[in-house]
């Protein structure tokens, strides 16, 4: 490390250039981390799902409902521990500027099946007792500045009219993949208001043995095959994964942009490194004359490139990690749990390494191979 000060002195010679190059690398890695986090968040959503939960939907499509009467038949199946159901409500709040999801759920069984939806016991009891009540995610409460006990009116688009709910509880999800900006209200209340049509959007089953998932799924689908509403049953994970694929090829899009970003910055930093190296030809010759070995000179240039690349990387990756955590960003509910993963940080480090090699290698080799006599001729 005896040459460390020499490297620092070299970096300090063109302070502006060094700072701009480091900032350029930082911006690139900030973008890299952001773009990759979009992909990892969607992937995490696709991976989410308890192995013990199955989702039963109408085989014809997600927009078709199932008879509520299926609940008892599902409950009677061996291996099924719990059954709950929910409906997509699709309402609008005020001017609909900030969209959020509302679900009508069978309150008691739903909270039982989803221990990830955590809310205080007294609020849970209040929700179970008050038919016209709703529970909302912590984020939603903050966005609209609602309070416990407040009445909130939603305009139904699928089920027309004004729907007023009393907020009786605020939940915090224990798993980041679960949205913290949903509104859950009671399915029996919805049934009552629209005249008891006896419909459920989908069913959720809890099974006692995850290994039985495929068998139970098949039993369910066989049971309803010849009914008016045939079903499609799969694990919760598969259900979520199919939603994640609806985005289309996000991986390719983000990957392509990420590559372009990294390449663009590679050009910029490689250029800066080469300019520095060219200006120092004479100096390198002098160093060689006073006894610095080729290897040391190679190391000096590489160290300089490395310091710039890794300082930039730490700044960029660090600020991305910090920013998304501090602002609790979730892309208006589209990307719950948006946080830079350790794997992304490691990959970012890899990008910095490539940057160091690509921008430092050519000047370093040149410095090492520089013919002293010829170069010295140019020194005043």
């Amino acid at each position: 490390m005896s040459h460390f000060r020499l490297v620092l002195a070299n970096l300090g010679r063109h302070k502006r250039r060094t700072v701009l190059t480091i900032l350029g690398v930082a911006l690139a890695l900030f973008l890299f981390a952001s773009l990759r986090t979009v992909v990892t968040t969607i992937e995490a959503a696709a991976q989410f799902g308890s192995a013990r939960r199955l989702v039963v939907t109408n085989a014809t499509g997600i927009v078709f409902v199932l008879p509520l009467a299926y609940a008892n038949r599902l409950r009677a199946l061996p291996g099924v521990e719990g059954v709950s159901w929910a409906n997509w409500f699709g309402g609008r709040y005020q001017d609909n500027k900030r969209f959020f999801a509302q679900f009508a759920v069978d309150a008691e069984s739903y909270l039982d099946l989803y221990p990830e939806i955590v809310l205080p016991e007294d609020q849970k009891q209040a929700f179970l007792q008050d038919r016209g009540s709703a529970i909302v995610g912590k984020r939603l409460l903050e966005i609209f500045g609602w309070q416990l006990g407040q009445n909130v009116t939603i305009q139904g688009t699928i089920f027309p009219g004004d729907w007023t709910f009393t907020i009786r509880g605020v939940y915090t999800p224990s798993d980041r993949a679960i949205n913290d900006d949903m509104m859950l209200f009671r399915h029996d209340y919805m049934e009552e208001r629209i005249g008891r049509p006896g419909i459920a959007g989908w069913y959720v089953l809890r099974i006692s043995d995850p290994d039985q998932a495929a068998t139970i799924g098949k039993t369910v689908d066989d049971m309803f095959r010849n009914s008016s509403s045939p079903t499609k049953t799969g694990t919760e994970q598969a259900f979520n994964a199919s939603f994640a694929t609806m985005w289309g090829n996000v991986q390719l899009l983000m990957g392509t942009i990420g590559m372009a970003v990294v390449f663009a910055i590679l050009m910029v930093s490689a250029n800066a490194m080469m300019m520095s190296a060219r200006e120092r030809t004479g100096e390198v010759a002098v160093l060689k004359t006073i006894g610095f070995s080729d290897r040391t000179l190679f190391g000096l240039v590489m160290a300089e490139a490395g310091i710039m690349a890794f300082t930039g990387a730490i700044l960029g990756l660090g600020s991305a990690t910090w920013l998304y955590r501090a602002t609790n960003f979730n892309a208006a509910g589209f990307l719950p749990g948006f946080q830079v993963t350790p794997r992304t940080l490691i990959l970012g480090g890899g990008v910095a390494l490539v940057l160091m090699l690509a921008s430092g290698l050519a000047p370093a080799v040149r410095a090492a191979r520089l013919p002293v006599v010829q170069a010295l001729r140019r020194v005043e």
Binding site: L35, G61, G161, A264, V268, N271, M275
Partner: protein
């Protein structure tokens, strides 16, 4: 007096590698800029073209999409009898009460990836109401038969979409008898069949929407007022073109914001690169600049000259970026339009206007990046630099 631009061009060529690296950096930024806006453009264009300003779309009051709407047969016949509906050459009103559902289709060779494709049940009149829709291959589905027509954009994107093949949905088999084009609109991502065939297999005795040709497009407001005020029905009347354009607003805006955000961060990085390059250029040409100043060129001319040089490098990058982005024009991609929850396939659209704004963007980056180095050059102390 101005310094001739050829001086800058020659100077740029003197340092080919450094110039090339800077230009490529800017070029990549421009390519991403054009590419992302082409994506947003393509998506919005597909939905904006879907409706016609000559048509009105009727939904149940309060419904914000065709999916959540419902129109009874009774309401449909009341609407069809309205004097605001145009009469076709066959003497019948130009209305198409429609069944609208989403069906899950697996992407080819993939058992997980599902797309929710729109299945639209139309009346015979729909082909006349929607003037831009035309059958490109095969013949129209015949009334009373389980036949369907597949939109051009999804042909081949899903299994069994070829003519003569049969697709299974809603617990029945449907024979594909034609493919249709609709001017690049989102209709091209749909499957059409007869409404009376779809009704019993999907949602029973109810239509989801009703489209009709306005007798006089200028009287839309009047038609809207009358129909929405009709006590027998509870409906909202939208101008068809506006309705579909509004459906693209959410995702279109997200894409545009994303494009601007990503490219501005990239642009800052590229500007840093330009700053470095230009400072180096100025530093290595100290004596040259001093000579120019001694010869009597005004410092302002030197400033302009170096700005021009930076702009030239950036413009070269802009052209390169445009060329890089050009091949994606027309490439078909797809996503879910969350406003309607349906799969929309659309093409990237690289327009001449977009290419031009890419070039302007590049030049702006060059001028911004070149400003401080150029000012530095203009303020160079002559005597010192001449040594």
């Amino acid at each position: 007096m101005k310094i001739p631009v050829i001086y800058n061009v020659r100077s740029v060529v003197q340092r080919p590698l450094s110039t090339a690296l800077t230009a490529v950096g800017i070029g990549l930024v421009v390519a991403v800029f054009i590419g992302m806006l082409a994506l947003a453009n393509g998506f919005q264009a597909a939905l904006a073209r879907t409706g016609s300003p000559d048509n009105a779309l009727v939904l149940r009051r309060g419904a914000d999409s065709e999916l959540s709407s419902g129109v009874t047969r009774e309401a449909a016949s009341i609407l069809a009898a309205s004097p605001h509906v145009a009469i076709g050459s066959d003497g019948r009103p130009m209305v198409s009460p429609e069944v609208y559902v989403l069906i899950p289709l697996n992407r080819p060779n993939d058992t997980v990836a599902v797309a929710n494709v729109v299945v639209r049940g139309i009346s015979e009149q729909a082909w006349n109401v929607r003037a831009r829709v035309e059958v490109t291959d095969g013949r129209r589905p015949q009334s009373g038969r389980a036949e369907i027509c597949v939109g051009r954009k999804i042909v081949g994107r899903f299994n069994n979409t070829g003519i003569g093949q049969s697709m299974r949905f809603g617990n029945r088999d449907w024979t594909v008898v034609c493919h249709f084009a609709a001017g690049g609109s989102a209709f091209e991502s749909e499957i059409w069949g007869e409404n009376e065939q779809f009704m019993p297999v999907f949602r029973g005795e109810v239509f989801q929407s009703l489209s009709f040709r306005l007798r006089d497009p200028a009287t839309f407001d009047e038609a809207k007022r009358v129909l929405e005020g009709d006590q027998r029905i509870t409906v909202d009347v939208h101008r068809e073109s506006e309705f579909y354009a509004a459906q693209s607003a959410l995702l279109g805006t997200i894409l545009q914001i994303l494009a601007v955000l990503i490219t501005s961060i990239m642009a800052i990085g590229a500007v840093f690169g330009a700053v470095n390059t230009m400072y180096a250029a100025v530093a290595s040409r100290g004596p040259e600049i001093a000579v120019l100043l001694t010869l009597g060129f005004h410092p302002r001319s030197v400033l302009a000259s170096f700005l021009a040089e930076s702009a030239i490098i950036a413009a070269a990058g802009g052209v390169l970026g445009g060329l890089l982005a050009l091949p994606i024009n027309g490439v078909v991609t797809s996503t879910t339009n969350w406003a309607s929850f349906s799969e929309v396939a659309f093409s990237f659209r690289v327009t001449p206007g977009l290419l031009l704004s890419g070039l302007v963007f590049a030049v702006v980056m060059g001028v911004v990046g070149g400003f401080f180095p150029a000012r530095h050059a203009a303020k160079l102390p002559v005597v010192q630099a001449l040594r």
